[in-house]
Point group: C2
Chain length 382, copies 2
């Protein structure tokens, strides 16, 4: 519980920032415009007078603005509470932490489930396709709104890492340190394939109704299947073996039916069902598509060209058993950064947790990140 934990940031509240008051103010990569845009965000710690101690935390596909601390009445803290708080890896005694929900999401920021101000009804599929660059451009407005000219650090795992890379390349003057974790400069064909099957499952659900299901029955079976597929890719063969193996669920022998036999089956169903309660199917379509589209390598260019104007110092972290965004993809990023003579620390953490390790490997991540931040912080203060 928050009141008993000196390393918890305690009770926090989500805030909202709305900008682009005219209905078409922010141009998007797809060629359309979006506005007004609302971003849900949270902040932890105190912004110093120089406004140079801000760290922007970027979330993954199913994440939200609530990265740390507790919402009043909640038993569970934010999604990266192991990393953010007093004395933690992202130390709120030193740093001012910001985390905002991406556009296209369903946790308070503008997305397909939001009301279209022009019609008063949910956008549904009329919401424009957004990209990682669009997400970052919206965050930039929030950062500027908070009066911050340069972020001390941008950090995140998985899709959060893509946003880190996008920040460091698109807005180099605003990023001092960058920590992309368990991420990639572009999805492999295999990762796109998994995303597409998940989208197919959602769209195959008759309750999806071309995305126009708000206020009606939600496409829970389709979204649940999409989540189950995703979840398998977040774990490793080893971690699933250790956690489940071939253990049966509440029985000694096979059921010889199509009801759950193995623990891994009921676990996946549980994961799928619980996801449906907290996530919007259309947001799953939009955000997974944004990940598929992300590709830092310029057309007819090389990855190193993407970092030509980048200035940040990097801490790149991958996980040895991550097969969704494997270590070799982080190494490609590291090589491209070094080809631009940028300062890079790279660590491949040995772990069985797979892609999800960025949410679990608190010890190693804390050690690496706090050292990286404090070293740079001390240099800044000299």
């Amino acid at each position: 519980m928050p009141q008993n934990d000196p390393h918890s940031i305690g009770i926090v509240e989500t805030q909202y920032f709305t900008f682009a008051g005219s209905p078409d103010e922010m141009p998007l990569e797809c060629g359309r415009k979006l506005g007004p845009i609302t971003l849900a965000y949270e902040t932890y710690g105190v912004l110093n007078e120089a406004k140079d101690n801000a760290i922007l935390i970027l979330h993954a596909l199913s994440g939200d603005a609530h990265a740390a601390g507790y919402h009043a009445g909640d038993d569970k803290p934010g999604w990266w509470d192991i990393m953010i708080g007093p004395g933690k890896g992202f130390d709120t005694n030193r740093f001012f932490i910001i985390c905002s929900n991406v556009i296209g999401g369903c946790k308070g920021s503008s997305g397909p489930g939001s009301a279209n101000p022009q019609t008063g009804r949910s956008y549904g599929l009329s919401f424009p396709i957004v990209t990682i660059a669009d997400m970052v451009n919206a965050q930039k407005r929030l950062v500027e709104h908070l009066g911050i000219k340069q972020l001390f650090c941008v950090a995140g795992g998985s899709m959060g890492g893509m946003q880190v890379l996008q920040w460091a390349t698109a807005h180099p003057e605003m990023v001092r340190l960058a920590i992309p974790i368990a991420t990639t400069s572009r999805l492999s064909a295999q990762a796109i394939a998994f995303d597409e099957v998940g989208r197919q499952a959602i769209q195959a659900d008759p309750d999806w109704m071309q995305g126009d299901y708000y206020g009606k029955t939600i496409p829970h079976r389709g979204l649940s299947i999409a989540r189950m597929i995703g979840h398998i890719t977040y774990l490793s063969d080893q971690s699933m073996h250790q956690k489940f193996g071939r253990k049966l669920q509440n029985k000694q022998e096979y059921g010889y039916d199509f009801v759950t036999d193995f623990q891994v089956e009921s676990y996946l169903r549980y994961k799928g069902d619980s996801f449906v309660k907290r996530f919007d199917a259309n947001s799953y379509l939009y955000i997974s598509k944004a990940m598929d589209y992300f590709d830092l390598t310029p057309p007819n260019g090389k990855l190193k060209d993407a970092f030509a104007t980048t200035r940040a110092n990097f801490l790149v972290i991958s996980f040895s058993s991550d097969w969704l965004f494997p270590t070799y993809q982080s190494k490609e990023i590291v090589t491209a950064l070094r080809q631009n003579n940028l300062n890079v620390i790279f660590t491949d953490i040995k772990t069985d947790y797979g892609h999800d390790a960025f949410l679990l490997e608190a010890g190693e991540l804390t050690r690496l990140i706090s050292n990286f931040l404090l070293h740079s912080h001390q240099q800044q203060q000299k």
Copy 2:
């Protein structure tokens, strides 16, 4: 075309063997009984007088009895035509090749789509759960029907390899040589998880109707999604990268919509759609479940115990990029066989083709298998 190819077995026909005339003659592992049972099968080459040159080929999840040659009017040969024919790895000039469709299937053998003789209607979900052991027990009846007391060899890839292992352990006196390829003694939690998500996709399709869809609309979207999931696991990250990478389908730029963008997406949809035309959704449920249940290790025992009475000589083949049934699982089999002092040749073929390599790596497979067969054949004739 068959008439132009001296290495093709030419035109072949599927035959049918029906046994267990009483309605409940063959006991199944689940405790229920099944009968009459029909097996669809094909044979290639000539059974010699001693009836000691028979090779039983065992198919994978979506395979059938049509392993080689051409059905009249067809442009495409059987599913393992690269391996079976005059002068090929399984040389029909020397050997009598048998391949039968598994029970539970949908290609002529008794399965959920067959008419229940007691009702005249398709079994649907009233078809009993069948296991790999049940499939093999039915094949044993066919082999005995053909007058064969001992098979010179049993061979197959993926689920076919499980049947090879089952044959060699359950009926050791009937198996002289065994060639399990790209297989496992039991599925990992990850492989079970993928199977379960595929089954969930089928059962989530409203046209599935608890399996009672025969003569009505088939659950094509659910089955298509199940196949897409499976197909990703049959390929490797490397082969998908080489085949598709991030290439777009018929366009130069992103579509910024949820219609197909990447070639890998349209490829998967095509694979899903074409599978629906040739496969039954209920059979997918039954056969994938049979694979999940397969576990050679006895309760409270070790894998080596499974091979205590096995006599066959083994050629075990795995593929370096197979992540569905990875090389380490073949190595576990090899270790268990050697702990029983059985003769084992083991090869891990270096390939980027992933699990599907057993259908593609004709050169290496032919070299390994023809050497293994001919060496043993010559010893037999001495």
